[in-house]
């Protein structure tokens, strides 16, 4: 059986001062601190491409776990902002840059903010079928490539980051029950048009505020546990406001729902593993629920159990 062994990340050191940016777009500092939740947005260096962010996250993971790249048999990379528009697939570029052996499987998956939950199911299912023992799930979606800096709906939200999750037979968290949903008919609420990201904030808010709690409640019902049986709810960090809204609508104590986007922004599929990386070290967090939601529209939730 496979599970989550370790997580590492790469967050570019370059930052956008979001308060300064907001003022230029007619928004106050309070809106940034109280509603958006990100005083700074991380942004990749000009000479970095998507694969470079991914490579740095994987290198950090290998170092942290004293592993050689030769031991990694599978790379699954989740992005919608790949190198060279996705051809060849970014995971193959990462495999090459890491000097990984040719017998390493590598594939990309195209998902946004639900991508980590989907990615965990995809890579473990693939590895189990292919009888592989160690693999890496990479999340890396540098929205700075597509954000229109003049658009207040999007430019105050997103930051760049990459994470790498080691999937192994020696794990800390096993993957439990999960639910996956899609509503492509409402996909226009968050899409790329003429190479730039567009977002209907109200439609995305309504979607998240209504569908995500329903899915989480259904997942808990199917698992046969109460909200109190979950030690941490790690929700996608869309904005501080949406995380707080979901916390209220689910009737959860705020201390069970971490918020971590102050110096990064919404890092798309990386937002959940950036928090889960910390939670891995807290032995008292035995049962964790993760939930991602966004582009698609797509939403997915999963329960993780500490060994």
């Amino acid at each position: 059986m496979l599970g989550i062994h370790s997580i590492a990340h790469y967050v570019p050191s370059s930052k956008i001062d979001n308060v300064v940016q907001a003022e230029k777009l007619g928004k106050g500092a309070e809106f940034i601190t109280e509603k958006i939740g990100s005083t700074y947005l991380s942004i990749k260096h000009e000479n970095e491409d998507t694969s470079d962010l991914a490579v740095k996250a994987v290198q950090s993971l290998l170092e942290k776990n004293r592993l050689s790249i030769d031991e990694i048999e599978c790379i699954c990379l989740c992005t919608q902002n790949p190198d060279n528009e996705g051809l060849p697939h970014t995971s193959a570029i990462v495999q090459s840059k890491l000097g990984s052996p040719k017998n390493c499987a590598a594939f990309d998956i195209s998902l946004g903010c639900s991508g980590y939950v989907y990615g965990l199911a995809a890579i473990t299912g693939f590895m189990e079928k292919a009888r592989l023992k160690k693999g890496v799930l990479i999340t890396v979606d540098p929205y700075s490539k597509i954000v229109d800096t003049e658009d207040p709906n999007t430019s105050l939200l997103f930051g760049d980051a990459a994470t790498a999750t080691l999937i192994s037979e020696e794990y800390v968290f096993s993957l439990g029950r999960s639910l996956f949903c899609t509503d492509g008919a409402r996909g226009g609420a968050l899409e790329k048009k003429s190479a730039k990201l567009t977002m209907n904030g109200r439609q995305v808010f309504n979607f998240a505020a209504t569908e995500v709690p329903k899915q989480i409640v259904q997942l808990l019902d199917e698992e046969g546990i109460d909200k109190s049986g979950i030690d941490k709810f790690i929700l996608h960090q869309g904005s501080k406001y949406i995380v707080e809204t979901l916390t209220k609508r689910l009737g959860l104590p705020a201390e069970k729902v971490p918020i971590k986007m102050e110096t990064t922004g919404n890092t798309v599929s990386s937002s959940i593993p950036l928090i889960l990386e910390d939670v891995l070290d807290y032995a008292e967090d035995k049962v964790v629920l993760i939930s991602g939601f966004g582009v698609g529209l797509s939403w997915a939730s999963m329960i993780l159990h500490r060994l």
Partner: protein, 76 residues
């Protein structure tokens, strides 16, 4: 939905905003109720009444009175 109920929704949806000066004619943005608070207000009204308020109508719902009038018209 009456004025009282709308005020109750606005109050529960706008934590951190000083609502002491809120009257039925107060323009929400004048007292610091921002676009995100309004998403919550309108979603709460939609949920309570089982109706869909289109994006094109949202901007005009800028006070308690405006919401009451809009809902009255919509119900007619």
């Amino acid at each position: 939905m009456n004025e009282e109920k709308i005020i109750e929704i606005v109050k529960s949806s706008s934590e951190g905003v000083d609502l002491n000066g809120l009257t039925s004619t107060t323009v929400f943005s004048d007292i610091g109720i921002d676009s995100l608070d309004m998403f919550t207000v309108i979603l709460a009204i939609q949920d309570a009444l089982g109706i869909e308020i289109p994006d094109s109508d949202v901007d005009k719902l800028n006070s308690v009175n405006a919401i009451v009038e809009y809902l009255t018209e919509k119900a007619a």
